[in-house]
């Protein structure tokens, strides 16, 4: 949808699209077993296409098509969002964003980065806690110093791809402030329980840490480093918004086509002004969703200090407006848009899920008021 892509970016986009359409058509997603995760081999092949390398500098084994990794990642997220793809795109890239941001300021995680870039390993951010709203810097899970390392106690939930992850990036309270730890799923004391997810293609779980011992090298960066958590949040939000934009493009296209093909009282429903005006509003909001998502991606790309504002702007706007568009597309489709066999609900599930996670639009609006020094 971005009209100004380079030829390399267009190739990258087309390759991702082909690969997704072939391996995970919507019909396969509709039939995904609630218990099953994504196909690990599929993800490894995605990694070969560069899906995990974009935020990682070349010296750590990464690289991106245009040299602007966040923008390329947003482009990929649009493609995968248009297909409601499964897989840990958000989970793994968010963890990579944190590992790269913390690189050089604490224990070395180059090996983990390498395994994630190759697609051999999958990582996810364990940040929410049961029953809590979004508050990444106020973890209840504790990491207490113990025998040259730490002992982790607490529960995280709504952890994306928890059942498939090899590594958890755990945000925890230490005596020195909030810190993050990279914890292998196989560590004794770590247990995962499946949680029901609205999104058919994306699964979540609760992860319990019962006296989990990790050594100091598990720490990512330094305690109190809020800017690493902020970076992870920003990357997660850009991926969310871009995914939703990709889905909206597809649904809007599908719905305008429907309106042209569907006749009632001898006229296409696209000829009814009440619908035409709603399409015009939707088209406007669609453009606005793309504009704000692109602006957020650029700001995160530049890593500018002011990136929080455009990112929260995008989540605030896209989070709610996407649902208004999707629900009106359901309405225009009529009853068929409420059936399991129609594709619409796959997009609605993804957008509703993305709206709720990593801060709701309401959370981000309050953050914008904070940022405006109100």
């Amino acid at each position: 949808m971005d009209p100004e892509l380079s030829p390399d970016q267009k190739l990258f986009e087309a390759a991702a699209k082909d690969f997704l359409d072939k391996e995970y058509p919507l019909d396969r997603i509709r039939r995904m077993d609630a218990g099953a995760g994504f196909d690990r081999d599929w993800w490894r092949r995605g990694a070969e296409l560069g899906w995990t390398a974009m935020l990682v500098p070349e010296e750590l084994g990464g690289g991106s098509v245009s040299g602007e990794g966040v923008r390329d990642l947003a482009l990929l997220a649009e493609v995968l969002g248009a297909g409601v793809a499964p897989g840990p795109l958000l989970a793994t890239n968010t963890v990579l964003a944190g590992l790269v941001a913390a690189h050089g300021t604490g224990p070395d995680h180059s090996a983990a980065i390498e395994s994630l870039v190759s697609g051999e390993a999958v990582a996810t951010w364990a940040v929410y806690e049961p029953g809590r709203q979004w508050a990444p810097l106020e973890p209840g899970l504790t990491a207490r110093p113990a025998e040259g390392g730490f002992r982790l106690d607490g529960v995280k939930d709504r952890v994306e791809a928890a059942g498939d992850a090899d590594l958890f990036l755990v945000t925890a309270a230490t005596p020195q402030g909030t810190a993050q730890f990279l914890v292998p799923a196989a560590t004794p004391g770590v247990t995962v329980e499946r949680q029901w997810s609205l999104d058919l293609a994306r699964h979540h779980g609760a992860v319990r840490f019962d006296g989990v011992r990790v050594d100091e090298a598990a720490m990512v960066g330094r305690p109190g480093a809020g800017e690493v958590v902020e970076r992870q949040t920003q990357v997660a939000l850009v991926i969310q918004c871009a995914e939703v934009c990709g889905g909206l493009d597809r649904v809007f296209e599908m719905t305008t086509q429907w309106a042209r093909d569907r006749y009632t009282f001898g006229r296409p429903i696209a000829s009814y002004q009440a619908l035409k005006h709603r399409f015009a509003d939707m088209r406007t909001w669609l453009e606005a969703c793309h504009a704000t998502t692109a602006a957020a991606a650029s700001a995160v790309q530049e890593g500018s200090a002011g990136a929080a504002e455009p990112v929260s702007t995008a989540k605030s706007y896209v989070g709610d407006r996407s649902l208004a568009i999707l629900q009106d597309c359901v309405q225009i489709h009529g009853g068929i848009g409420l059936t399991w066999e129609h594709d619409l609900h796959l997009y609605l599930r993804r957008a509703t899920s993305n709206r709720s996670l990593y801060g709701t639009p309401q959370d981000h609006r309050r953050r914008l008021a904070d940022l405006a020094s109100l």
Partner: protein, 412 residues
């Protein structure tokens, strides 16, 4: 009452009260199956049979066809007494309040004798084959055709959105019998068995996992001439009557029902349930959202009551029923929105491996438009309000007065 006088409402009420207490199960003691499972239908037939045997079935249906031949006042008294008892609510819509009244109004003597008693005895369930996949809001533009082969009608085509059709025995089916005249003039209504030869029926799975609706495919289905309800090519008059009964039933005004209310195929948590489950009842923003929902939901009920009264009193035309339909849909959309927003960060992932209250808020949100589509889209209601209530110019209909086989049709 066989002596020819009508029992007083009060006497009937007292008799009903005693009989109900002695014979019918209390609602709170029964845990009914969801309305889209066959088990619930067996139970409803059983309860209907009890009513029949107790002499309380078909209160407003004529005695000659197996009813009691009493007045709507008797019916209301019974309904009031029946509150709190398990009743065969599944039979209310469409069997008792839509299909059977249509047969009573427009069917042949044979139809009435054959079906009214059977329904009242709990032996028969009636459903509707009206909407079609190509149809949308334009019911009269349907494509299913019925052609005469000697004395036999041969039906071919497809129907959809047939509510509870999987549980039905007979269906009122509207089909095109003359495509050479404008659309309303070439339709005929048939009363057909739902499980006859040539009929394939599937249940339509909805996004929330329910499957209340069915779709049917007709491949040379053969019906005798006696299956026609009303006149050949006079089907639109029958359908109009049927739609009138449907609106009355949906508005809660039918005198032909057994007990009050509907049997929901899925019960969703309210926004208050959601706020409690999410532990957010103390959040002022959540409280404001909930207050907005409470207000709108109350206003929707107040509006329905006012409009119903005004129509009954002749102060508003029947088309004003669309006002309550629009307000009801708006309140329902808001309910789903508020539940989703109140669930907040918990709307998309449940605490455990079942949806639970918060996940149900998410699932309910997927069905948000249900109330704006079911029973005619809100867009049609807005047309009705602006054209019939406010007298604004009618939308241009490209098929008005055009022979049906010359009307343009789309691909969807």
């Amino acid at each position: 009452m066989t002596d020819g006088t009508t029992e007083s409402v009060e006497s009937f009420r007292l008799r009903a009260r005693a009989w109900l207490a002695a014979n019918m199960p209390r609602a709170e003691e029964s845990a009914p199956a969801p309305g889209d499972e066959l088990e619930a239908w067996h139970r409803a037939r059983e309860l209907q049979r009890k009513l029949y045997e107790g002499g309380f079935a078909g209160i407003c249906y004529p005695a000659e066809y197996g009813g009691l031949g009493l007045t709507p006042a008797h019916q209301r008294a019974f309904t009031e007494e029946a509150d709190g008892y398990e009743m065969p609510l599944l039979l209310n819509i469409p069997t008792l309040s839509i299909c059977l009244p249509t047969i009573l109004d427009m069917g042949s003597e044979e139809h009435k004798r054959e079906h009214i008693g059977a329904v009242l005895r709990g032996e028969e369930v009636l459903v509707q084959f009206l909407s079609e996949p190509s149809g949308g809001s334009d019911l009269a533009g349907l494509l299913t055709r019925a052609e005469l082969d000697g004395d036999t009608w041969i039906l071919n085509g497809a129907k959809t959105w047939s509510s509870s059709a999987y549980a039905g025995d007979y269906a009122l089916c509207l089909a095109r019998t003359d495509p050479t005249v404008p659309k309303h003039h070439g339709l005929t209504m048939f009363l057909m068995p739902t499980k006859g030869e040539g009929i394939t029926m599937n249940r339509v799975a909805m996004v929330d996992g329910t499957a209340e609706f069915c779709e049917e495919f007709f491949d040379n289905v053969r019906l005798p001439a006696s299956a026609v309800v009303g006149e050949v090519n006079g089907g639109w008059a029958v359908a109009t009557r049927q739609l009138y009964h449907e609106r009355t039933a949906m508005g809660g005004g039918s005198p032909y029902v057994s007990g009050r209310g509907f049997a929901p195929s899925r019960k969703l948590p309210t926004p208050i349930d959601v706020a409690r489950a999410a532990g957010r009842a103390g959040d002022p923003e959540v409280r404001e959202l909930i207050g907005e929902w409470l207000a709108t939901s109350t206003v929707s009920g107040q509006t329905a009551a006012r409009v119903t009264r005004a129509i009954a009193g002749g102060h508003l035309p029947p088309a004003a029923a669309s006002l309550m339909r629009l307000m009801g849909a708006e309140a329902m959309r808001l309910e789903r929105d508020v539940a989703m927003r109140v669930a907040g960060a918990c709307a998309a992932v449940a605490a455990g491996d079942e949806p639970g209250v918060l996940g149900e808020a998410g699932i309910g949100y997927l069905m948000r438009q249900g109330s704006s589509l079911g029973g005619g889209s809100v867009e049609m209601s807005r047309n009705i309000v602006s054209e019939r209530l406010l007298g604004m110019p009618r939308e241009y209909a490209a098929d008005r007065g055009v022979p049906f086989n010359q009307v343009r049709r789309g691909r969807a």
